[in-house]
């Protein structure tokens, strides 16, 4: 282990790994402040325990809870395996292999990210259920009851839909990880006689572990928090129970209690994962140029092309075409001049949220890098929990926290002899942005942290030795090196913010409608066809940053 340099925390982590810090420094305060920002609404959620309502609990325990746990576990395992296998395989294929159309698939495979999960769910059921066009055609050819068709409204169906919309998280993070793996390491492995599969399994994969885990955790947190997709399938999960308690039994308390259990589960999982890799370091020590690709010739290459085309068709093209068809039916009654306002609000909120959240994530990332003690691990994990709560529950938590601060402000001014009323934070753009930061911190943190973890400590140290100031080390060493990760973070947050519904609905200032609000208006009573136009606009707007990101990361290589 290297010598401790307490006067110079930007260079090396404290050697007190896994202990409580001896002395607090600016990174503790910074990560602590961000954790507090997230913790306040979470505490509001936990405060549901102050008013226990045993009646609903015993009813749930009697009737549903068992099944809900089983369903949720099935979903988590299915989606977890699915997104990891799919995302990692695809990332490996597009970054380290060559086959016909590779350049196109490289970015096309990110596109499903722009399709909201509930849209995918609706399209899948619309097409494949008994009354859908596929089975109707089968019936007219083969006759009723003379064919076998998998039931789409089933556990397998939900898992498939979720995997298709969530694999891009793993794909994008693993892709960046593979792209930044140096040539020498991989070539050394090849020199030792490893074939493509072995290089992948024994070198590239272990090195990309933080990225893959980050991607999979994002996908799983979203799975646990999801309501739209499971509701479309009428598939009962733990989240269903949360909404049942709230909307059905009118008990926000019980809903909060259930939600806080969900949070606890995610928190423990995150801490456990950290603990298992605490000692491992993932720096690429020999980062030198672009490694050669494994070229897949002949039928091998083409069969990969065919498989990826099929995947792309299912995950993006078919839902997109279906949306286009619906949009054409309704464009005359749906399109009006207000659309530009919707577009403007969507983009503005998305961009601001992306910048703000990524900046916060960067602070967390640095804190984590330089303070490898238990306190920082704890605060960073707290700061990332906002993503694991069902959207509406978190939105209400944030809203209550903000309105309480308004009340507090009024009492304060009252004491000072002024009389103020009305909303200050509540219902402002600022409040909405805070909500996005809280919600999407984990989304930005994943790529930022994996980006940072690849930079070995000796690099900034060397710069320091050469007389660089901390600011220069940041702008000339760190920022260029984590640019791919930072861009991925901003893109993910941008797209996620644009799709976000519950917080936007509840906290938007009057008149600040976005495309997602418009989609809600139409889908809330099942008018999916009329939601197609805003949904397509959302997908198209989401495509721009995806393309931008791809061009950037290509240049970086």
């Amino acid at each position: 282990m290297h010598e401790i340099t307490p006067d110079n925390p930007i260079l090396r982590p404290e050697a007190r790994k896994g202990r409580l810090p001896g002395r607090l420094n600016k990174w503790h305060y910074a990560s602590g402040a961000l954790a507090l920002l997230v913790a306040i609404p979470l505490l509001v959620v936990f405060s549901g325990w102050l008013q226990p309502d045993t009646e609903i609990w015993s009813h749930l325990a009697e009737t549903l809870l068992n099944q809900l746990f089983i369903n949720t576990i099935k979903l988590v395992i299915g989606v977890g395996l699915g997104v990891t296998l799919l995302g990692v395989t695809l990332a490996w294929l597009t970054t380290r292999c060559d086959f016909p159309g590779r350049g196109l698939f490289d970015w096309m495979l990110m596109l499903p990210l722009a399709i909201p999960a509930y849209v995918m769910a609706f399209v899948a059921i619309g097409l494949l259920d008994f009354s859908g066009p596929v089975q109707t055609a089968l019936r007219s050819w083969l006759g009723v009851g003379h064919y076998w068709f998998p039931e789409i409204r089933s556990t397998g169906g939900v898992i498939a839909v979720m995997v298709l919309v969530l694999y891009p998280y793993v794909y994008m993070l693993a892709r960046t990880a593979f792209l930044t793996q140096g040539r020498s390491t991989l070539e050394a492995a090849q020199t030792l006689g490893y074939g493509p599969l072995e290089v992948f399994r024994r070198v590239a994969l272990p090195m990309a572990r933080p990225a893959i885990v980050a991607g999979t955790s994002l996908a799983l947190m979203e799975t646990l928090a999801d309501f739209g997709t499971v509701a479309t399938f009428n598939y009962d999960t733990f989240t269903t129970a949360i909404y049942k308690a709230w909307f059905g039994f009118f008990s926000l308390q019980t809903a909060s209690q259930l939600a806080s259990l969900l949070l606890l589960f995610v928190f423990i999982s995150l801490m456990t994962e950290r603990a298992t890799r605490r000692r491992a370091q993932y720096h690429d020590t020999m980062r030198s140029g672009k490694p050669t690709r494994f070229i897949l010739h002949g039928w091998r290459g083409w069969s990969i092309t065919a498989a990826l085309s099929l995947l792309f068709a299912i995950a993006f093209l078919i839902p997109f075409i279906q949306l286009c068809l619906w949009a054409m039916e309704s464009i005359s009654e749906e399109f009006d001049s207000r659309y530009f306002g919707l577009l403007y609000h969507t983009l503005l909120l998305g961009l601001l949220a992306a910048l703000l959240t990524s900046a916060c994530a960067l602070v967390l990332g640095f804190a984590r890098r330089y303070q490898r003690d238990r306190l920082t691990a704890f605060t960073v994990n707290i700061a990332n929990l906002g993503y694991a709560l069902p959207g509406s529950v978190l939105a209400v938590g944030i809203m209550i926290a903000l309105t309480q601060s308004d009340h507090f402000f009024h009492r304060l001014t009252g004491l000072l002899g002024y009389n103020t009323t009305g909303q200050i934070l509540g219902g402002s753009v600022f409040a909405l942005l805070i909500a996005y930061v809280i919600r999407f911190m984990a989304v930005a943190h994943g790529p930022v942290e994996t980006g940072l973890s690849r930079i070995r400590y000796s690099l900034p140290e060397a710069a320091r030795t050469l007389g660089a100031r901390p600011r220069e080390i940041l702008t000339r060493i760190y920022l260029p090196l984590i640019r791919p990760g930072l861009l991925t973070a901003m893109l993910l947050v941008l797209v996620d913010t644009m799709k976000e519904m519950p917080a936007t609905l509840l906290m938007r200032p009057f008149g600040w409608d976005t495309l997602a609000v418009r989609i809600y208006e139409m889908t809330s009573e099942g008018e999916w066809e009329r939601a197609a136009l805003p949904a397509i606009t959302l997908v198209l707007v989401g495509l721009l940053p995806v393309i931008l990101l791809v061009r950037k990361t290509l240049q970086d290589r």
Binding site: F130, S131, Q135, F250, S392, M399, I400, T421, Q423, E527
Partner: protein, 330 residues
């Protein structure tokens, strides 16, 4: 950095400043079903209306949290249960208005005048005209009979419309009989419950099942798109309580800053002038007995509606959900 903070704070403070003659509405009824009426009202009176839309439960949570600082003057929902709950939680205040009493029949408003129905939504039986004779049908309860085994399609029990329907059955029949009916329904299901009424009807049209229970305006939407669709509505329980109805309605908030203006708006919404459009925009039925429904809606025929107060739907909702859970109705 400092400048940014100052700019953000200014933004935060400057934004929520409202003009005085602006009524604020929190609405669970969708924008395109209320905006045309609000626009008409503004044109007629000069009173501006601003609104946000969301689901009823988050809006109610927001109203409660904001307390006396709420900008909201009116809460609008699409079912009686949520209005009943809002009243129970004390965010709505009673309104003594002869106009509202005259325009809104007694069973479609709160006995304590804290909320008023504005349109009626009928939940009735839909059947395949190819495989079912209307003479085979009689009541919701009859759909539990063995002759419908494997022929029934239902929407999920998580939807408040079904919870209200079952709540009203509890009010009429008591828990035990309602439980038996629910178990009968579940036994007769052809497939797992659907997430919405439209899917239910499409399944019946496609032959997956023969009968179902839906809100009439969903049927209207399908019929508009495909006038040849082989489905029809049946009005059940005509010799007994009548067809189950729910309301979409509104109430004035406890801390309304523009109480009188908001009451005037509510009265106008219940008037003959507004009622036709309010109901027609979503193919619902007007609450005001003097107003006739839209042509397509009228073409489905007249029916006897249940005249129990819709407040019961809220009161018995919890009980209804419990019964449905126990019966295994998802």
């Amino acid at each position: 950095m400092k400048k940014t903070i100052i700019a953000l704070l200014t933004l935060a403070i400057a934004l929520p400043v409202y003009a005085e003659e602006t009524i604020t509405v929190y609405s669970a009824r969708k924008e395109h079903l209320i905006k045309p009426l609000f626009d008409a009202y503004t044109e007629k009176t000069g009173v501006k209306i601003q609104y946000i839309t969301d689901k009823a439960a988050p809006l109610l949570a927001r109203l409660k949290a904001e307390g006396a600082n709420t900008p909201a003057d009116m809460l609008m929902t699409v079912d009686a249960g949520n209005l009943w709950q809002a009243a129970k939680e004390g965010v709505l205040s009673p309104v003594q208005s002869d106009t509202l009493k005259k325009n809104v029949p007694e069973h479609l408003r709160d006995p304590d005048n804290r909320w008023f129905g504005l349109s009626v939504r009928a939940r009735t039986i839909v059947y395949s005209t190819e495989r079912v004779q209307p003479s085979e049908l009689s009541s919701y309860e009859d759909l539990a009979a063995p002759k419908w085994k494997g022929r029934l399609c239902l929407r999920t029990s998580k939807k408040v419309y079904n919870q209200s329907l079952v709540a009203m059955m509890i009010a009429r029949h008591g828990e035990e009989k309602t439980s038996q009916i629910l178990e009968g329904w579940v036994n007769n299901l052809a497939t797992a419950p659907f997430s919405n009424d439209t899917k239910t009807m499409q399944a019946i049209a496609a032959g997956q099942c023969d009968v179902g229970i839906v809100n009439t305006y969903y049927f209207g939407r399908l019929q508009k798109k495909d006038p040849e669709i082989k489905l029809a509505l049946f009005w059940p329980n005509q010799d007994e309580a009548g067809v189950h109805i729910n309301i979409s309605g509104a109430g004035i908030t406890q801390h309304a800053k523009h109480r009188n203006a908001a009451i005037q708006l509510l009265e106008w919404l219940s008037s003959e002038e507004a009622q036709q459009q309010f109901a027609a925009l979503n193919m619902e039925y007007p609450v005001n007995p003097k107003v006739t429904p839209d042509d397509l809606v009228a073409s489905w025929g007249k029916f006897k509606a249940d005249d129990l107060n819709v407040a019961l739907a809220g009161k018995l909702q919890t009980q209804a959900i419990k019964l449905m859970d126990r019966a295994g109705y998802r």
